[in-house]
Amino acid sequence: MQLNNKSKPVRHSLTLATATLLGSVSAPGYGAASNDWEIDSSVLYYAEDGRVSAIEPVVRARKTIGDDEFLTFRLVVDSLTGSSANGAIATTAAQTFTKPSGDATYTTAANTTPLDPSFHDTRVAVNGEWEKPLQDNLKGIFGANLSKEYDYTSLGASATLAWDFNSRNTTFTTGLSLNLDTVKPVGGIPDGLTAMPTTTTFTKASVGDSDNKTVVDVLLGITQVIGRKTLMQFNYTYGQDDGYLTDPYKILSVVTDAGTATLAATPYLYEQRPDSRVRNAFYWKTVHQFEQDVVNFSYRYYWDDWGITSHTFDARYRYELGGGHYLMPHARYYLQDKADFYHYKLVDGDIPRYASADYRLGDLSTTTLGLKYGVELSENSEFSVRAEIMKQQSRGSGATFPDVDAMILQANYSFLF
């Protein structure tokens, strides 16, 4: 390929087109001058009906530091507050639980799903990526990330190689990431499937102050230019988690008989999950442009050795209004089959080796509908807002958890600096 300064526009297009092939691992700035920082700033407001709410500002900065060589940084602050389901079932009588610290209690009214009101945390996450050409048609992306919250720390690194061939119409991508996480829950690590005290008089059985887990992910993918207006991506990811995978704040109710909601003498047990998990995902994404509008569709099939399988459908349609304005409807549907050890409640005398009543491990669906509006303020700046509603519902027969309704609001401003 002959490239020189005189062919800069073509070269620029080629750079962008090549980066397009690497879409999920590199999103180049369009029209960015080489010495400028490309800034993407966002603020997310997420609120569940009667439960948790979060405010999450994100700043992403990207700079060209050489020929097809980029640095990208991201800073995220995530502030959460509100109530979170503790895993216990609603009963006909009021229920009292100890807070994770063990030095206070909270009471849930009769016929109400128990929520732990002491849920609040602030997370700070930083991420850096160095994207560098290694050879002709071969690019490397090397990343590192650190995330810190009051009771959880995550430290990770990743490397991705992307090889273009078939006249740069096909890109083979392979990636590896490793995360080392430490959980240090308030009140220590509870001994799984032991009793949660219902008064502050007693102390929960603890197996230590903190524990660790490792998360390894491997990616194999192919991105294919289908035509002048169509791009397609196929990925397979394999993941393995080892270590403490239990949620230290979740409990299960224990009833006297399967057909009742009458609590046993020991009414609540801390959950216990297996200490390893093997995850797989197959992912397909297509981007196609019509006259001016662009449709972006993806499908993911996920399965793991906890017995969870899921289907995720995601579609966005960018409708050009003209003059730099656009509307983008978004629809997402998620369908999940439960983990083998998910139990809505346990029966006294029949306690399994592993059990969790965390509804996120149950049979559920998530439906999200949203609309985004964006406008190009200038050649190098854009403003957009989006509003979405999300509903999570239990699936299947029998006793189930109540719906979770959430609202997602987000504002974005992108510019060159």
Partner: protein
């Protein structure tokens, strides 16, 4: 599922094979547009990933890296 993944991979390779001529560099004006990238709105993707990682039990697919969270 292995069969499904292999089938999809074969389909992709077939598509690649059918596209030996490919799209030429000078025909890439559409593909070069930001809105035609696989991840044209990276902050939206990041925030969505975080929301659904926190509320569902599936992860992975689009890429690797990015970090974890407690997400109780």
């Amino acid at each position: 599922m292995t069969k499904l993944a292999l089938s999809a991979l074969c389909c992709c390779l077939l598509l690649a094979g059918c596209n030996l001529q490919g799209v030429r560099p000078w025909e890439r004006n559409v593909l070069a547009q930001k809105k035609m990238q696989l991840d044209p709105y990276p902050n939206d993707s990041y925030l969505d990933d975080h929301i659904y990682y926190s509320k569902e039990s599936s992860s992975g697919g689009a890429g690797v890296g990015g970090g974890g969270c407690g997400c109780n």
